[in-house]
């Protein structure tokens, strides 16, 4: 039994927003331009992105609406319709509501009847976890179709007012992701039968290292505080304390590159990855982070991945958190050239508390 990705879809809200336009959408904190914006953008290399909010901070598309639009785009490119879908697996880092699960809201939006539902909560790797749940459900023979959708609406966390309410000074860790993340959704259709040009899932594996590393990317805790946002007497006090800002602890960020390589080497040792046989590499990360010493080391160790094999649309579609890898795979599938039998390696190293996910795909015949 094999499982295939037989269709893909995406949704990116509104027009592309350039580096120079983004602050006028997100807003000037205390009316002043950011002093870090240029530096952070230079380091992440992103040139344009999309936002589901406008400059008046009205939400034009909710997170579940974006997810539904990506799923509909995916279905429109497929051989099946909504009635044939029996499973929905959805991922996001933050739904529109705290409860119920994001999947329920997406299902309602999509008007899907009677599906088995799975909601996956996490950061960038949650899409891969949602995909794995659907993949294993098909492998177990319990379903023959599943829609997997990942969506992010992080711009709501970046409105200028959020930072103003949380106090005077903006620290680097709180501002880092403001110039990194943006909105969008991606969807994959899984089927237990191959279609022309579908991608077979060879395996999905992940390794989590939360036991050995501190939290690196978070919402819900103020700096130097052990309390959760829910432990404050009122939610307003949590916000004032800065507990609701999205933060990245940049000091520990470099661990993610090492752990990404660590997982890659484990999979080589397990015989799942043969570096010479990889034709395309899709990685949810700004590629220049990887042009570091460790990649020289990988070359020395004979397991380097040639630069011309790497594909990314991160620089133009933005870093959309867990949706990124699906949006990347969708655009790769529609715009890049590949041959039946080609092997695609997808990698999602997540810095939340260090979970690294990997997937290998094989391009099927056109029939």
């Amino acid at each position: 039994m094999s499982v295939y990705i037989s269709s893909t879809g995406h949704f990116l809200p509104g027009p592309a927003v350039s580096n120079d336009e983004m602050e006028s959408v997100l807003g000037f904190v205390h009316g002043k331009p950011s002093r870090l914006r240029r530096r952070i953008l230079q380091s992440n290399g992103i040139q344009s992105r999309h936002y589901a909010i406008d400059a008046q901070h009205r939400t034009l598309f909710s997170n579940s609406q974006m997810a539904a639009k990506a799923a509909e785009d995916c279905l429109a490119n497929s051989f099946i319709g909504k009635p044939q879908l029996t499973m929905l697996s959805a991922a996001t880092s933050q739904g529109d509501l705290v409860l119920p699960g994001f999947g329920s809201m997406v299902q309602a939006e999509l008007q899907l009847a009677d599906v088995e539902l799975h909601t996956c909560h996490g950061i960038c790797s949650s899409s891969m976890m949602a995909l794995k749940a659907a993949y294993t459900a098909l492998l177990a023979g319990e379903h023959s179709t599943a829609m997997v959708v990942a969506s992010e609406l992080t711009s709501r966390l970046f409105k200028a007012r959020r930072y103003e309410v949380a106090g005077a000074e903006l620290d680097f860790n709180a501002e880092f992701l403001r110039w990194m993340l943006s909105d969008g959704a991606g969807a994959l259709l899984l089927e237990s039968r191959p279609r022309a040009g579908s991608f077979r899932i060879d395996w999905i594996r992940s390794f989590s290292h939360a036991d050995a590393y501190p939290v690196c990317m978070s919402v819900g805790q103020a700096p130097n505080e052990n309390r959760s946002w829910q432990d404050y007497p009122s939610y307003a006090e949590a916000e004032t304390a800065g507990a609701l800002l999205l933060r990245q602890d940049v000091r520990v960020l470099d661990a993610i590159v090492k752990l990404g390589v660590d997982g890659y080497l484990r999979l080589i040792a397990q015989g799942l990855i043969q570096p010479d046989e990889i034709d395309h590499v899709l990685c949810h990360y700004s590629s220049h982070y990887f042009k570091s010493k460790i990649f020289d080391m990988m070359q020395q160790a004979g397991v380097g991945l040639a630069e011309d094999k790497w594909y990314s649309n991160l620089y133009h579609r933005g870093n959309t958190g867990c949706a990124s890898i699906f949006i990347m795979l969708d655009e790769f599938r529609r715009t890049q050239s590949y041959q039946p039998g080609d092997t695609i390696l997808c990698m999602v190293p997540e810095s939340g508390r260090f979970n690294t996910a990997y997937m290998q795909l094989t391009v099927m015949d056109a029939y």
């Binding site: 036991d211 050995a212 000091r251 660590d262 080497l265 080391m297 160790a301 397991v303």
Partner: protein, 229 residues
């Protein structure tokens, strides 16, 4: 010796050593003292204690590397030359560490009175490495150098800055830690050369990886014991 890794056996050796290193970093992430350093809850007393315990390791380090060099026979005279060079470069590093200790408010008499036996991790690490270094042609010690070199880079690239930030002391207190980072590129090249030279068969590869793992584990033990000694 080649400047690059040229053989498949040495490439496999490097892959395995990279994994040992990543695992070692995770082990370090579980050491309470280093967890506190990570959180910024690390005092000048903690730093003094760390240096006090580290000193013995640095002193012994210059001894085992000399012993290691003398255990290579004439078939490995090129390796011996490389290791003698290394020993010469580093055998008085502990003096820099002592100056850091004083700059951080420590008293030299206290440091000189300290003994290796205060830290059972140092005791075990020293015992193991000296035993290996005394074997004929101890090629497996490349595994030990891999861990110790990596640790030097980690001290320079993250610990030194974190210590300065947490304790409020300036870079005059962290010269030993920072010095190691400045030698990065050069030392990495040397390690690649050595690995390419001495990792020639499956047996040597296994020995190198095993020694790297043991040294990593004992280093962690030494760091855990800093707070017990």
């Amino acid at each position: 010796m080649s400047e690059q890794i040229t053989t498949e056996m040495a490439q496999q050796g490097l892959q395995a050593l990279m994994r040992v290193w990543f695992d070692f970093e995770r082990q370090l992430g579980r050491v309470p003292l280093l967890q506190r350093l990570q959180r910024g809850q690390f005092s000048i007393d903690d730093y003094q204690k760390l240096l006090l315990h580290w000193r013995q390791q640095v002193i012994e380090g210059s001894r085992w590397i000399s012993r290691c060099a003398s255990s290579f026979d004439r078939h490995y005279s090129d390796v011996r030359s490389a290791i003698i060079g290394h020993a010469r470069d580093e055998h008085r590093d502990y003096e820099m560490l002592e100056q850091d200790f004083v700059a951080a408010g420590g008293e030299l008499v206290v440091m000189h009175a300290a003994s290796r036996a205060n830290n059972i991790g140092s005791e075990a690490l020293h015992g193991f490495i000296m035993y290996r270094a005394s074997q004929p042609n101890p090629v497996d010690l490349v595994g030990a150098m891999w861990i110790i070199e990596g640790l030097g880079q980690k001290m320079a690239s993250s610990w030194a800055g974190q210590i300065e930030q947490a304790t409020g002391c300036d870079s005059s207190c962290t010269r030993f830690m920072r010095y190691h980072g400045s030698q990065d590129e050069h030392h990495m090249q040397e390690l690649y050369q050595l690995l390419d030279r001495v990792c020639n068969n499956a047996e040597q590869l296994a020995a190198i990886v095993r020694t790297a793992k043991v040294v990593a584990r004992l280093y962690c033990l030494q760091l855990e014991e800093v707070e017990h000694g």
